[in-house]
């Protein structure tokens, strides 16, 4: 879903940013297990990073804001494990496997950790990029029901292409089960006062990483 609570840029009311002195990497053991499960499940390629994000975005706004970061990761992982039939609600309630299953061939193992890196989301282009650095562009005005990575605050705004970042998996397609549909990715920079109005802080520029379908010539 796109126009929901996760799209927070520009919202008021959440209060000051508070630093925690000497913050540990994980505050509790369960946080570390949630993180590790998410990382270990990634290489099984049962789902994509964008499907993972979409699972969290589908949480009710009241749940999303009340949950901590790792609680959201847990809820998202549970939801995907259920949707993909890896586990059943009965098994989660019982805390043990109740059904036989086809086991995946190769799972993430301890020795794989030395090579633990993010995968590449770059793909072979389907054509030449439409825009080049220096081009003036306007972002599209849309309200998709599915997943998107164009934040609300940067829709229907004029900015400038600063760089081409290669051709990448298109989140709006892959998260909705419609394949990689690779698209050119650009850094597009906006003047802060174009985004927020003339009374906003001066001397601010904000950039987003924008997929080509988000952009039109201005």
């Amino acid at each position: 879903m796109s126009n929901t609570i996760h799209d927070m840029g520009g919202m008021h009311g959440f209060g000051p940013v508070e630093e925690e002195p000497n913050e540990p990497v994980f505050h509790t053991e369960w946080e570390s297990r949630v993180y590790a499960m998410n990382r270990a499940m990634g290489p099984l390629r049962l789902w994509t990073i964008d499907e993972g994000r979409a699972a969290q975005e589908a949480l009710h706004p009241s749940v999303y804001t009340a949950a901590s970061y790792y609680q959201r990761w847990l809820l998202g992982l549970e939801a995907r494990a259920l949707q993909h039939g890896l586990v059943t609600r009965e098994e989660l309630a019982a805390g043990k496997a109740l059904e036989q299953n086809d086991r995946p061939n190769r799972i993430f193992q301890a020795e794989d950790v030395a090579r633990l890196t993010r995968g590449s989301y770059e793909r072979a282009p389907q054509g030449d990029p439409k825009f080049k650095a220096g081009d003036r562009v306007r972002t599209v005005n849309f309200q998709p029901k599915g997943h998107t990575r164009l934040p609300r605050y940067a829709r229907d705004k004029v900015g400038e292409v600063e760089a081409i970042r290669g051709c990448h998996v298109y989140p709006d397609s892959v998260a909705n089960g419609e394949g990689d549909d690779p698209q050119w990715l650009y850094t597009v920079v906006f003047d802060g006062q174009v985004l927020w109005g003339p009374d906003n802080e001066p001397g601010v520029k904000v950039s987003i990483e924008a997929f080509e379908p988000y952009l039109e010539k201005a």
Binding site: H6, D7, M8, G9, G10, M11, F14, P16, V17, E18, E20, P24, V25, F26, H27, T28, E29, W30, S32, R33, Y35, A36, M37, L44, R53, T65, Y69, L74, A81, V87, L92, A93, G95, K96, A97, N101, F108, Q109, E111, V113, T117, R118, R149, L150, P151, Y153, R165, G166, H168, T187, N200, E201, G203, V204, K205, V206, S207, I208, E209, A210
Partner: protein
Amino acid sequence: MAEERGHEHDHSHGHSHDHDHGEMSELSDMQVRVRSLETVLSEKGYVDPAALDAIVEAYETRIGPHNGQRVVARAWADPEFRAALIEDASAAVNTMGNVSPVGSHLIAVENTPERHNMVVCTLCSCYPWEVLGLPPTWYKSAPYRSRAVIEPRAVLSEFGVTLPEETEVRVWDSTAETRFIVIPMRPEGTDGWSEEDLAKLVTRNSMVGTGLALAPDEAE
């Protein structure tokens, strides 16, 4: 009850925590729920608990902001490396044998007197894990995600950073699979310093853009 055993078991190992007793029952519920998911996924062959241990250990020791500190210190000390880093940060970092491997699309953005860079992910909490480790809670929080793009100077002032008005603030919203590391300005009075000493001036916040590098008299 399984919950009772789970509760006792959890306190026999793992991290101590600072939460007060009012949060204990919620914490215990989370521990039970997470253990349940891990047990089922493990029994069904989707995760290996030993691999999970190894991932946790890696992020608690090897993969953290000390990697980024080395990258910044080298960029300050070695103009060729700095140029390579700006050109292709993933490739440049991967030439450093002492830093854990970096995947695709790391982008290094350099602070100058004219421009201060600051990184956020308004839509989730994208962060350059491989060079900075896992993000601190404030980076993942609603206040930072909501405010960094609309009032970055106000956010910076809460971090104790006040920039001259003529310095542009450039906020990078991490809306795709590109990841950003800020190269802070090298502090005055560090001519001829070794990379090892320079690295001690590089804070995590300075590589996210909510801080500046330490002055020589601020370092431990």
